[in-house]
C-alpha cells in the first residue's frame, strides 16, 4: 500500500516540524538542536541537503514556507521568543541554467514577544505577504511586509491578546470576497474552567480590526494543533482540532439578520477517539480529503470521508523498532524495489499488518 524513502535529516536532536514548499519539492526541517535545514528533491526523487544553519538560540518549534509568488521565503519560531524571516539568495550566474550559489539570509527578526513563540504561519497569498505568530503568553501578532520586494521590513499591524496560552494557529485558506480573513487559534491551557480553547478571529474591513467572532464552546481541554481544510467551493469551513481526541468542525457562516447573535453555525462533523489519549498534530492533504492525526498512542491515523461524508480510518502508521534490512545512509536508504525503476530514489515497501490483533507490542 505504501512505500517509503527515508531521509536522514542529520539533526542532533528530534525534529519538531517538517514543512514542504507549495510544490512539495523542497523540505525544511527544524529541531531542538536550534538548526534549520533545507532539502531539495532532484529529478531522481532523491532529497539533497542544500542549506543548514543555526537559526535560533532555543528550540525551533515550527517552520513554514511562504507562497512561491513571494520567492523562496521561510519563517521560523522558537523558544528564544523570536520569529524569523529567511530568504534564499541565489548568487550571480554567468549563464542562464547554471545553478548559482545559494544561501539563506535572515531578513527580519520579530522580537515583539516576551515568551516562547509557539506557532507561525503565512497568510493566504491573496492578502499580500502576511505573517501571524502566537506565543505562550497568549498574544497573537499579525505582521505585514508592505513591499514584497523588501523582506527586511515587517510592520506589526495587529496585536490581539486572547488571555490564554496559545499553542497553535491556522489561517482559513478560503479567502474570498464572501469570507473575511480568518484565523483559528488553539490554546493548551490545562484548566478547563478557562472555557473554550478554540477561538476564531476575523478581520473587519470597516473597523480595520481583528476581533474574536466565535469560540467553540465544546472544547475545554487543551488544544495542541488546529488546521483548516482547503476549501474547494464549499459553503462551509472545515476545521480539524487536535485535543484529547480528533475533532472536525463544520463552520457555516450565518446570514446576518438584525442583531448579530452568532457568526457561525458550528457542527461537529466527526470525532475520532481512536488515539485514546492526547492528540498532538493534525494535517490535511492539499485537497482537504484526507486528515492525518498523530497522538500519544504513537500512531499516525489517516481519515477519509467516503462519498456519503462518513469518516473512516483508512490507514494507521506506527513506529517499529526494527530497521529496514539495509541501514539508511545519508539522504537515501534501503533496498531498491521494482517500482522505482523509473527513478533512482530508493523506496522500500512498508510492512503492513492487516490484523490488528497480531500487532506485536512491547
Amino acid at each position: 500500500m505504501f512505500e517509503a524513502h527515508s531521509i536522514n535529516a542529520e539533526h542532533k536532536d528530534l525534529i519538531h516540524d517538517v514543512a514542504y514548499d507549495f510544490y512539495g519539492r523542497r523540505m525544511a526541517t527544524c529541531s531542538s538542536d536550534q538548526f534549520v535545514k533545507v532539502w531539495d528533491q532532484d529529478e531522481n526523487g532523491d532529497w539533497n541537503l542544500s542549506a543548514s544553519w543555526k537559526a535560533h538560540s532555543g528550540s525551533v518549534w515550527k517552520i513554514t514556507w511562504a507562497h512561491p509568488e513571494f520567492g523562496q521565503v521561510l519563517a521560523t519560531c522558537s523558544f528564544d521568543r523570536t520569529a524569523a524571516i529567511w530568504e534564499e539568495i541565489v548568487g550571480e550566474v554567468s549563464n542562464p541554467g547554471e545553478k548559482g550559489m545559494r544561501h539563506w539570509v535572515r531578513r527580519s527578526n520579530l522580537v515583539d514577544s516576551r515568551t516562547s513563540v509557539t506557532d507561525v504561519k503565512f497568510g493566504p497569498k491573496s492578502l499580500g505577504l502576511l505573517l501571524v505568530t502566537c506565543s505562550s503568553d497568549g498574544v497573537i501578532r499579525i505582521y505585514e511586509a508592505p513591499d514584497i520586494m523588501n523582506l527586511s521590513q515587517w510592520t506589526l499591524q495587529h496585536e490581539i491578546s486572547c488571555k490564554l496560552s496559545c499553542s497553535c494557529l491556522s489561517w482559513n485558506p478560503s479567502f474570498s470576497r464572501l469570507h473575511p480573513p480568518m484565523i483559528a487559534v488553539g490554546s493548551d491551557d490545562p484548566n478547563p474552567s478557562t472555557g473554550s480553547k478554540v477561538l476564531i478571529y476575523e478581520y473587519s474591513d470597516n473597523s480595520r480590526r481583528w476581533s474574536k467572532t466565535e469560540s467553540i464552546s465544546t472544547i475545554t481541554d487543551p488544544v495542541h494543533d488546529i488546521c483548516f481544510a482547503p476549501n474547494l467551493g464549499r459553503s462551509y469551513h472545515l476545521l480539524a482540532v487536535a485535543t484529547n481526541n480528533v475533532r472536525v468542525f463544520k463552520l457555516k457562516p450565518l446570514q446576518e439578520s438584525g442583531g448579530v447573535v452568532q457568526r457561525f453555525d458550528i457542527q461537529t462533523a466527526a470525532v475520532f477517539d481512536d488515539h485514546y489519549c492526547t492528540v498532538w498534530r493534525v494535517s490535511w492533504n492539499v485537497t482537504g480529503t484526507i486528515l492525518a492525526s498523530s497522538g500519544d498512542d504513537g500512531c499516525v491515523r489517516l481519515w477519509k470521508a467516503n462519498y456519503m461524508n462518513v469518516w473512516k480510518c483508512v490507514a494507521v502508521l506506527k513506529g517499529d523498532g526494527t530497521l529496514p534490512q539495509t541501514e539508511p545512509t545519508t539522504g537515501t536508504i534501503a533496498q531498491p524495489t521494482l517500482l522505482s525503476s523509473s527513478s533512482s530514489a530508493r523506496y522500500y515497501k512498508l510492512g503492513s499488518i492487516s490484523h490488528p490483533n497480531q500487532v506485536p507490542w512491547h
Binding site: M1, A4, H5, S6, N8, A9, E10, K12, D13, L14, V18, Y23, G24, R25, T29, S31, S32, W61, E69, F70, V90, G100, S116, S167, P230, L232, G233, K252, D265, A269, T278, W280, R281, S283, N285, V286, T287, A292, S294, D296, D297, V300, R301, Y307, M308, N309, C313, V314, L317, K318, G319, D320, T322, L338, L339, L350, G351, S352, P356, V359
Partner: protein, 680 residues
C-alpha cells in the same frame, strides 16, 4: 513516553515505519502535496515544557517520505489509463438514462471498457512470463478480478435482458471466466478429429480427465461440447449413450426471442424432465455410473447437489450450475436468495473474500455496497470510478444528497470517486493531463479542485509551465494563470533574468512587480550604462502601459532608438517629454540630463528650444538642491563634474536659442527673460 495502543477496532491496515526513534517517542505526520506523507519521530511539547534536550538525543533524526504504491503508474498499466480516459470522455456525451432499459451506447461503452481491460491483462500476462514475474502476476490477478466483476455488473445492470431472464447470461459469464473445461475438451476433440474410426479405445481411457470434463461442461450448460465428448466414448453407440445424447440435444432452452412464452416453456421443460426421469427409473443408465450422474444433474435431482459442489470451486459457479437445471427462468430478484443458500453451502459469510462480497452485492442489487467495496481493490480507484460513472449513465445510481441535514450540496454519487481518480492522476508527472479531463467532468467540485491542483503542479521548465497555463486559460482560470506567471516571474528575478521576469510580469498583469522590474532595469542602466535584454525593452509596444515606470522605460528606450537612427529632433522631443511629464523617477534625472548633452551641442541648428532648455535647467536645480538637503547623499565629485558639464551645455544652448528666438518678433517672452538668464 508512548502509551501502548489498545486493541484497535478499526479494520484499517497498520503500517509500520522502521525507525526506532518513532517507536520510542511517537510520530508526527505532514502531508506533502496530494498523496504523499512525511512522517518523523516527534516528542510533543506543551507551553510548559522546558527547552531541554530530548531524552533520546543524540539520535538519527529521520524523515520518512511515504507515497502510495499506485498500480496505475506502471508503464504497462499506464496504457489502460490512457485508453480508459478516451472512453470516459466519449462516454460523457451519452445522456444519462432515465429508464432502466438497455441502450446500445452504454452497452457498447461497457464492452469497450472490458476490452481494454482484457488488453491490459494480456500485456501483463506477457510481461509476467518474462521478468518481475511475481510482481506482474499479482497485477494480472487484480485486473482479472475487476474484469470478472465488471462483466457480471454489465449483465445485471447495463445489458439488461428483456423479461429479466438472466441465467443464460450468467452461464456465459461463468463459461467465459472458467474456461478450463472447454479448453481440455478442445484438446481431446482435436486429438480425435477425423481419426475416430481408427482408434480402437475410447477417449475415456486415453484421457483421465474425460468424465470430469464432461460433468464440468454440463454444469456450465455447455451441451455441444459435452455431447461431442460423449460421442468419443468407446461405447458411444450403445443404448445408454444414444439415449443420453438424445436427451441432451432435446433439452429445451429458454430464449426471449425463441417464440415461446414463459408458461409454454415451463410445460416443455417439465415434460422433458419427466421423460428423462422415467428413463432413469427404468434403469437405462444404471450400467454407466457417470452417465447416470449426468442425467441426474440435468433433471435437477436433489440427491446430486453434493456431487455438483465437488465440481465447483466457488459458490457462484455452484449457484449457476444448480439454477441451470432447477430454475432456468430464475428472475434477477431471486438471485439474492439463491446466492445466500449457496454461500452457506460454502462455509457461510465468514469465508467471503472481497471478490465474493462484490459478487454477492451485485446479485443483491446493493450498488452502494458494490461501490464501497470496489474502493478496496488494489487498482487505485480505476474500476470504481469508471464503473460508477457507467452505472450513472445507465441511470442505476443518481444524485446523492449529502448526509448532513443542512447541507445543500448535492453531489453525483460517482463524482467523488471521479474526483479522487482525477486528482490521483494529477499527482503524476506525466499522467496529469489525463487527470484534468476527469476533473472537467465533475460538475460540483471539479473546477475548484482543478484550480487548486493546477496551480500546485511543480513547474520544472517553461514548456510545462506553458502547457499548464494553456489548460488554465482554456478553462478561464485567470487566478491560476496569474499565480503561475507571478511565481515564474519571481523565480526569474531571483535568477537575475530580468527580461524573462518582465515577460512573466506582462502575462500576470502584475503592475507592482513590473514597476519593481523597471526600476531594476533603470538602476542597472544608471550603474552600467547598458540595458539587459534590450531586445525585449525595444519591443514593448502596448505592454509598456502596465505601469508608469515601465512606460517610462519603454519611452526611454525609444529615445535611444531615435538617437541611434540619428533622428535627433524626435529624440529631443521625446527626452523633453520624459523629463517634463514627471513619468521619470528622480534617480534617473541625472542620466536623462546627461543624455541631453549631445543634443544641446548640436550643430549647426540648436535642437532643443529655449523653453525646453529652461525645463532642463529647473530639473537640474531641483536635483542639486535635493542633494544638498539630504544629509545621507554624498556630493560626489563625479556628480559635480556632470553637473558642471550639463550646466555649461544648457547655458550655451540657451544663449543660442535665445538669440535665434529673439529675432522672431512675436516672441516677447524670450525677450523679457533674456536678462535674467544672462546671470547664469
Amino acid at each position: 513516553m508512548v502509551r501502548p495502543a489498545r486493541k484497535a477496532e478499526t479494520s484499517a491496515p497498520i503500517i509500520t515505519i522502521p525507525d526506532p526513534a518513532c517507536n520510542q517517542v511517537g510520530l508526527a505526520a505532514k502531508w506533502v502535496g496530494i498523496d504523499k506523507l512525511a512522517v518523523h519521530a516527534c516528542e510533543h511539547k506543551t507551553v510548559d515544557s522546558p527547552d531541554s534536550r530530548s531524552g533520546v538525543a543524540p539520535i538519527d533524526s529521520k524523515v520518512h517520505y511515504l507515497r502510495q504504491d499506485v498500480v496505475l503508474f506502471d508503464p504497462i498499466v499506464r496504457k489502460l489509463v490512457n485508453e480508459a480516459s478516451g472512453l470516459f470522455i466519449a462516454g460523457q456525451s451519452i445522456r444519462p438514462a432515465t429508464g432502466l432499459e438497455p441502450r446500445s451506447d452504454t452497452v457498447k461503452l461497457s464492452r469497450q471498457y472490458r476490452s481494454i481491460l482484457h488488453d491490459c491483462i494480456e500485456h501483463l500476462q506477457e510481461e509476467s512470463t518474462k521478468q518481475k514475474k511475481e510482481y506482474y502476476s499479482r497485477y494480472v490477478a487484480i485486473f482479472y478480478n475487476i474484469e470478472f466483476v465488471w462483466h457480471l455488473c454489465e449483465i445485471l445492470y447495463v445489458d439488461v435482458v428483456a423479461g429479466d431472464i438472466v441465467l443464460p447470461q450468467l452461464t456465459d459469464w461463468i463459461k467465459f471466466h472458467f474456461s478450463e473445461h472447454e479448453r481440455i475438451a478442445d484438446t481431446i476433440l482435436t486429438g480425435y478429429a477425423g481419426s475416430r474410426e481408427l482408434t480402437s479405445s475410447g477417449a475415456e481411457t486415453l484421457h483421465p480427465e474425460y468424465w470430469n470434463t464432461i460433468i464440468g461442461l454440463i454444469l456450465q450448460g455447455n451441451m455441444e461440447h459435452s455431447r461431442a465428448l460423449l460421442r468419443l466414448h468407446s461405447l458411444a453407440d450403445t443404448e445408454p449413450f444414444l439415449q443420453a445424447h438424445k436427451f441432451l440435444r432435446s433439452r429445451p432452452v429458454y430464449s426471449v426471442y425463441g417464440g415461446l412464452s414463459l408458461g409454454e416453456f415451463t410445460i416443455r421443460w417439465k415434460t422433458w424432465q419427466s421423460t428423462v426421469q422415467s428413463e432413469i427409473h427404468s434403469g437405462t443408465f444404471s450400467s454407466q455410473k457417470h452417465l447416470l450422474t449426468i442425467m441426474k444433474i440435468v433433471i435437477g435431482d436433489e440427491s446430486i447437489t453434493e456431487v455438483i459442489r465437488k465440481y465447483c470451486s466457488t459458490w457462484y459457479q455452484y449457484m449457476v450450475a444448480l439454477l441451470l437445471y432447477t430454475d432456468p427462468t430464475v428472475k434477477s430478484y431471486d438471485l439474492s436468495y439463491h446466492a445466500q443458500q449457496c454461500i452457506n453451502a460454502y462455509g457461510g459469510q465468514e469465508r467471503l473474500k472481497l471478490l465474493d462480497v462484490l459478487i454477492l452485492a451485485l446479485l443483491e442489487s446493493d450498488l452502494q455496497q458494490v461501490i464501497q467495496k470496489l474502493q478496496f481493490t488494489s487498482d487505485s480507484g480505476w474500476a470504481v470510478s469508471h464503473l460508477s460513472n457507467l452505472l450513472y449513465l445507465c441511470g442505476r445510481i443518481s444524485f446523492e444528497k449529502n448526509y448532513s441535514k443542512d447541507s445543500d450540496s448535492i453531489q453525483r454519487l460517482d463524482e467523488r470517486l471521479l474526483l479522487d481518480y482525477g486528482t490521483l492522476l494529477l499527482s503524476h508527472h506525466s499522467l496529469w493531463q489525463i487527470g484534468v479531463t476527469y476533473l472537467d467532468h465533475c460538475p460540483s467540485e471539479g473546477r475548484a479542485r482543478l484550480e487548486l491542483c493546477l496551480s500546485a503542479l511543480p513547474i520544472d521548465n517553461e514548456a510545462r509551465a506553458k502547457r499548464i497555463i494553456q489548460i488554465a486559460q482554456e478553462r478561464e482560470m485567470a487566478d491560476v494563470v496569474a499565480s503561475i506567471c507571478k511565481v515564474l516571474g519571481m523565480r526569474s528575478l531571483k535568477q537575475n533574468r530580468l527580461g524573462n521576469a518582465l515577460v512573466w510580469a506582462f502575462r500576470s498583469q502584475d503592475s507592482a512587480f513590473a514597476t519593481h522590474l523597471a526600476d531594476l532595469f533603470l538602476q542597472r542602466y544608471n550603474k552600467d550604462g547598458v540595458f539587459q535584454s534590450s531586445d525585449i525593452l525595444d519591443h514593448l509596444g502596448s505592454a509598456m502601459l502596465i505601469c508608469d515606470r515601465l512606460t517610462f522605460l519603454g519611452k526611454y528606450c525609444e529615445f535611444h532608438q531615435h538617437y541611434r537612427n540619428n533622428q535627433l529632433k524626435e529624440a529631443a522631443i521625446l527626452l523633453t517629454e520624459l523629463l517634463v511629464s514627471k513619468l521619470s523617477p528622480k534617480y534617473f534625472w541625472l542620466t536623462l540630463l546627461t543624455d541631453a548633452l549631445p543634443l544641446l551641442d548640436s550643430e549647426p541648428e540648436p535642437i532643443l528650444s529655449y523653453s525646453d532648455t529652461c525645463q532642463f535647467l529647473y530639473c537640474l536645480e531641483e536635483l542639486i538642491s535635493e542633494r544638498l538637503d539630504s544629509p545621507t547623499s554624498q556630493y560626489s565629485s563625479q556628480f559635480e563634474e556632470k553637473v558642471k558639464l550639463i550646466r555649461l551645455a544648457l547655458a550655451k544652448n540657451m544663449a543660442r536659442t535665445l538669440t535665434l528666438e529673439a529675432c522672431v518678433p512675436s516672441n516677447v517672452t524670450a525677450n523679457s527673460t533674456m536678462l535674467g538668464i544672462l546671470k547664469i
